[in-house]
């Protein structure tokens, strides 16, 4: 169902990073995404955007959007009161059926988005550590959204322009049982390598890919899994076990 509803809140984290909120009622799971439509008739491709936050009491759904191209530029140029058109939630989700585990959530740039909903669910029964890896100091402000849970989860961030990579967070941590990673391919590869030093953590990756339909029809988002298998992040994912994607 295509939904059109006004933007209730817009937060410009910095000039290329925005949080847009709308009223929405429904069920969703950590790691799912929506297809957001551009307000322009001349822009035809909706953009897949992960759920950042769903506040159940106020029924407020928020998206963290980095400007990557024309579509995300148009969508983030919308203001409070302007209509946003979207559909979802789509895709599978991060698994949340864990008890008494040490769980590490790693997000590179806007890849931090699915980690907020994941934290909210996992923190009740597990020891959760979240780390956001940012290129610049200005985007680090996104981590403030995690601060309301600071008594329940450990929160870290790293800034690349200050010479600190997200993988550095792994070094001092005790061994983790489960790791969620979302970010660029290079970031995810580096993180998988780093966390693999621990015995055998379960590693889950959320993949970003260019999409057109979001429903498994167009085959545009296909990624190659191990053994050359074709995987559709829109419908088989976006969350995959690390060993489905990387052979290392």
């Amino acid at each position: 169902m295509l939904i059109t509803t006004p933007i209730t809140h817009k937060h410009e984290v910095h000039s290329d990073l925005f949080i847009l909120s709308v009223s929405w009622q429904g069920e969703l799971k950590p790691g799912q995404f929506f297809m957001l439509h551009s307000p322009s008739d001349s822009h035809v491709l909706p953009r897949p955007i992960s759920v950042f936050d769903y506040d159940i009491p106020s029924k407020t759904l928020s998206f963290l959007i980095t400007v990557r191209g024309h579509g995300t530029r148009l969508i983030t140029s919308l203001n409070e009161g302007d209509n946003l058109t979207f559909f979802g939630p789509l895709g599978n989700s991060f698994p949340t059926d864990f008890y008494g585990k040490r769980i590490l959530l790693l997000g590179g740039m806007e890849g931090i988005a699915p980690m907020l909903e994941s934290s909210k669910v996992l923190k009740y029964n597990n020891e959760v550590t979240v780390c956001g890896g940012f290129k610049t100091k200005s985007s680090q402000a996104v981590m403030n959204y995690f601060n309301r849970y600071e008594d329940e989860i450990k929160i870290y961030s790293t800034i690349e322009e200050e010479g600190v990579l997200i993988t550095s967070i792994v070094e001092p941590l005790p061994p983790q049982d489960v790791v969620f990673i979302c970010g660029s391919e290079n970031m995810m590869k580096a993180c998988v390598k780093s966390v693999s030093k621990w015995a055998t953590p379960e590693i889950y990756l959320s993949l970003d890919s260019h999409m057109a339909c979001g429903v498994g029809a167009c085959m545009g988002c296909t990624v190659k899994g191990v053994n050359g298998v074709a995987l559709q992040p829109c419908t088989n994912g976006p969350v995959f076990k690390s060993e489905e994607i990387f052979s290392c």
């Binding site: 001349s42 035809v44 491709l45 260019h210 057109a212 498994g216 029809a217 545009g220 296909t222 074709a230």
Partner: protein, 307 residues
């Protein structure tokens, strides 16, 4: 009012989901029943399973998009075993068109022979216009001689089902290709496939698409598609399945007035998954307001205005 005839079949309306935009018919069920469509051209098939092209396959363009999927599909065997038998489930009497592809004439022939047997398939669309594969595809469709050769070869393998040939806008003279294909016994022409294009990521200093080139579709190509339908209509007498950037009832009517019997919708599904219902409602309104009993009365009428 919208009932349409295409070759030997009666369709409830002239809207066909374009091959490649609609999978095997099930993906958009959350938005609308595929039985709403006049017909569906299924995702392009090849003999062997195909992964498709490596790297990024999609790019945003003004009023359009580029794709370089490269015919990712499960191949003949899985299609016959897992897809074909269940195609009709949600379709009612919606027309089904199998879209077949090959690297060689022999591969086209082998698939056509099988497709002729598929009980849930009404027609065969011969794709000699895919711009995203290294062998076959568009290479056959860009000139009349090679197009005629593959159509002749495929036609000899088909006993029962009608053959539609999907033409490439990248041909030097699409009207002559259409004529050549008609002479070889094709029962309908379908056009246009996508136009070859590219885009460059200026920060990364490299082409956006892994395959460098891709097929341009969407509203940006509509005037070109319309012009080609006009030219093809003038050169042949078999029916035309036409599309290229259609997003509205107005667009559908333009194509019909240029000579299309029925129309295909592709890229528009991405912008609006409910587009079929919107177009059908608006077509009904148009026919009602213009006192048109059946939309087929409009086929090719714009030609009468131009001597």
């Amino acid at each position: 009012m919208l009932k349409s005839i295409f070759i030997d079949k009666s369709l409830k309306n002239p809207l066909i989901a374009a091959s490649g935009s609609f999978g095997f018919g099930k993906n958009y069920s959350d938005f609308f029943s595929p039985s709403l469509l006049g017909g569906i051209a299924l995702k392009g098939l090849t003999l062997e399973p195909r992964f498709g092209n490596e790297g990024t396959r999609l790019a945003e363009t003004p009023s359009g998009m580029l794709n370089s999927i490269g015919l990712q599909n499960p191949g003949l065997e899985i299609f016959e075993r897992e897809i074909q038998p269940y195609l009709r489930e949600d379709l009612g009497d919606t027309l089904t068109i199998a879209n077949i592809n090959g690297n060689t004439i022999e591969e086209y022939q082998a698939l056509a022979e099988r497709a002729d047997e598929w009980q849930n398939i009404d027609m065969i669309e011969l794709n000699i216009s895919c711009p995203n594969v290294k062998q076959g595809g568009m290479a056959f469709g860009i000139n009349s001689e090679s197009a005629a050769r593959v159509v002749r070869a495929v036609k000899s393998m088909i006993k029962t089902k009608p053959l539609i040939v999907k033409l490439s806008p990248n041909a030097s003279d699409i009207a002559s290709v259409a004529k050549a294909v008609e002479q070889e016994g094709a029962q309908a022409i379908s056009l246009i496939n996508t136009l070859l294009g590219m885009a460059i990521d200026i920060s990364a200093k490299k082409p956006i698409l892994g395959n460098v080139f891709g097929g341009l579709s969407g509203p940006a190509v509509k005037p070109i598609a319309l012009r080609m339908v006009w030219q093809v209509k003038k050169s042949i007498s078999i029916p035309i399945l036409a599309g290229g950037g259609i997003t509205s009832a107005n667009d559908v009517i333009e194509f019909i007035m240029a000579g299309a019997n029925i129309c295909s919708i592709g890229t528009a599904f991405f912008k609006n998954p409910h587009v079929i219902q919107t177009i059908l409602d608006d077509l009904e309104k148009f026919c009602h307001n213009q006192k048109i009993n059946n939309i087929s009365e409009l086929i090719g009428v714009a030609h009468h205005a131009v001597l």
